[in-house]
Symmetry: D2
Subunit: 146 residues, 4 copies
Amino acid sequence: MRAELDGLFRAGTVSDLLGLTLLDWSLGRARVLLQPSPEVSNVAGSVHGGVLYTLADTAFEVACNSYGRVCVALDVTAHHASPAPLDEPVTAEAVEVSRSTRIASYRIMAAGADGILRAWYLATAYRTSRWHFGPERWPRDWRDTH
Amino acid sequence: MRAELDGLFRAGTVSDLLGLTLLDWSLGRARVLLQPSPEVSNVAGSVHGGVLYTLADTAFEVACNSYGRVCVALDVTAHHASPAPLDEPVTAEAVEVSRSTRIASYRIMAAGADGILRAWYLATAYRTSRWHFGPERWPRDWRDTH
Amino acid sequence: MRAELDGLFRAGTVSDLLGLTLLDWSLGRARVLLQPSPEVSNVAGSVHGGVLYTLADTAFEVACNSYGRVCVALDVTAHHASPAPLDEPVTAEAVEVSRSTRIASYRIMAAGADGILRAWYLATAYRTSRWHFGPERWPRDWRDTH
Amino acid sequence: MRAELDGLFRAGTVSDLLGLTLLDWSLGRARVLLQPSPEVSNVAGSVHGGVLYTLADTAFEVACNSYGRVCVALDVTAHHASPAPLDEPVTAEAVEVSRSTRIASYRIMAAGADGILRAWYLATAYRTSRWHFGPERWPRDWRDTH
């Protein structure tokens, strides 16, 4: 199942458009890399806040869907700590903070190559009753506990 | 000054990349249109949350920079109300809710062609002491009150 | 049912502690009044942010539970627009912005006697499958649509 | 200066009203304890969300004012992870995540006696140009860097 989920997570066309690469993921966790192109600039000459958000949102999406259950973003709060220069990659790491059957929350940190924080996020997901590739592909016991 | 600001607001390359058009703006207010291309899809087949955010963020950026003072996004909270289908335009309208010298807040509503709400946002901006095109281009009285 | 819900909404001991009064409510909407006592001051001599939040949260709680379905707060974002003086009442009005079976969102505006905005909020509720006073007290048709 | 700041932080009347105690604090960090009384209950019989928020807000306020610079809450986002039972203390810890001259952000975790997360927060403060007890009480070098 992991290989199939991995294929799903890497299929995003928005990632191609903006220059995002899924680095790695495990249960409740994911890291995504942004290699900024000149096109993702804002008027001030740094990375557009919408592109940083999409980077963070992509890490969040992978982290919350990592159990196989279909999860969707509900609320996301972004805080901008410092401008992200265009000539520097940014990595976003999403980490699960809490999880119940229906709701989970994640903290996402987006930092530059030097580890300097660019933005961070508090994100919550609604965990549906649907499963990627169909429920029969996941053991009942797994579904009951994840 | 309005024509110059308008040119600045329409120069964004991220807008070209994602299919965003600035519809209209006035002091503290802006409307931006998204014409979704197949590339802005998420894995579920609707508009990616990061693209909706970029739409809202663009309306927010225009609304808060509309006075000529350089403003930057500080905190943005997104709530997703319903999936946005790919075959339907989405319009985001940013409206100013509060404003002091240093901080302003905006409510942004993103709705489909039928007026159905897709997402909404509470966004706050930090209002710097810099002015677009230089402070000398803006009357002192305007700068003191905006 | 309305009288019973109204009794429930007015039973809060926190409201007594802080000086909150439920003014009025209808489906998806509520208004609550804060009469500040000297005890709700912060160190700066204005109303404590936690007390303003409790005021807004109370209006939110009534608005989202107004249909009879048991709803709980999930995510709340607060923006502080201006300090609230201690010698002035504050009214918070919660208004529903979106609602599906499981999730609803509310905008809450907290303003002084003169209508000046003190704080505003984007709040989301999780709508459980439980009903106040038991499901049998609510018509099946109502439960299916609210 | 530390003793004077400590006195200021412990003077809050809202803390007495709700049962909050400042446990400890250092630069950019603070821990506050809530001993719930029956009065801080919500209608569901657990700790009212407004009281949990006030607990977190108090830790946040101490953490951001810990440098001596007068700081005020700007935006706070709360996520509720699980109900907090009335018969159990809750501890909130605020930790600084980012800080510039004018803006700082904090993560606040509120957990029960058993370490189970009840709520967590992303909070941002506006850092004014004023200093507690007057600017002349703080060395110029400290003021320039904090």
